[in-house]
Point group: C2
Chain length 165, copies 2
DNA sequence: ATCCCTGCAAAGGGTTTGCAGACGC
DNA sequence: GCGTCTGCAAACCCTTTGCAGGGAT
């Protein structure tokens, strides 16, 4: 989904309403961060968001504010937070997106999204079975993407050749 | 699965063979850490493993060695590593265990294991569909366990009473 | 004897915190 | 004007690294 003005208006209204409801303040920083996030179409980490705000937009925010705002946006479901193995959280906008999960290439770190209705079934079944009120989940599959599979094969051939020398 | 001597012998042999195969050294530290892990039946983090080794067993290892050995054990599939949201990895022994996933209570942090064959199906289907050679996955569900659901209800009642005063 | 592995402590990376000043309400 | 948010930098936590000495092969 590309960035478009209408979507951003909706999102801004949701955030605005959320802040009002929680008696939090509607600051320029919070809305600028929200906007920057909704201009992006991929997964990103807090640091790159921070850098882009200062560099591209010449907008000076502190890391503290970036983290604080990300937390707020996660709370009101406008942003999703992921841990793809490393100790660095990844984020993505979530308004208007279909619920989805991720496949990550362990070689090139590419992230692909997928969707399977069976996850929902498992969620509700396990919630009932174990008496949990399930709020969310995280499903990541790790493997080697098509490109990297080829690269690996090429590398093996090269090594074999080198050994023949 | 409780700790038993036979299982531990098998596990020790696997680790030993793995080290030999990789031309790594069979040190006391490595086997002591393996033993301590296989005496445990729950999830743990590197720090608590480190503490137990020095405190309970009076065995002085350094954190560096604990981390190093955990990596080795993950590589040879005797230990599984998880990220349950926080920036602190959780580990569990995995030999002889059925593949399983986790439900985590967001209030009390309790971890419950579950198993669903549909995960396997999704894995192989998505691998084929997206041309990924999938090696492993991580599925965590987050929610509120039965106990904590009751606690929350009690808290709400208390608050309501307090407001009546 | 070799040189990998260890212990130690310091560095590292991501995130959180404490405080003084700024600004939304 | 009050009280929350912000920026800044230091603190924090978990993990990794560098180095010198010790033990497995």
């Amino acid at each position: 989904m590309a960035f478009n003005k209408e979507t951003f208006e909706e999102v801004k209204n949701i955030f605005s309403a959320y802040l009002e409801n929680k008696e939090l303040r509607r600051t320029t920083e919070r809305f600028t961060i929200l906007e920057e996030i909704y201009k992006r179409n991929d997964h990103f980490d807090a640091e790159s968001l921070f850098e882009d705000l200062s560099r591209k937009k010449n907008f000076n925010v502190s890391r503290a504010t970036v983290y604080n705002t990300l937390d707020l946006l996660v709370s009101c479901d406008l942003v999703k937070k992921h841990q793809f193995g490393k100790n660095q959280a990844q984020f993505e906008k979530s308004y208007g997106y279909k619920q989805h999960d991720h496949i990550i290439c362990v070689d090139c770190k590419k992230v692909v999204e997928f969707c399977d209705p069976r996850i929902q079934q498992i969620k509700s079944m396990m919630g009932d079975l174990l008496n949990f009120k399930i709020t969310h989940h995280s499903l990541n599959m790790y493997g080697i993407c098509g490109n990297c599979q080829m690269k690996r094969e090429l590398d093996i051939k090269k090594e074999a050749k080198a050994e023949l020398v």
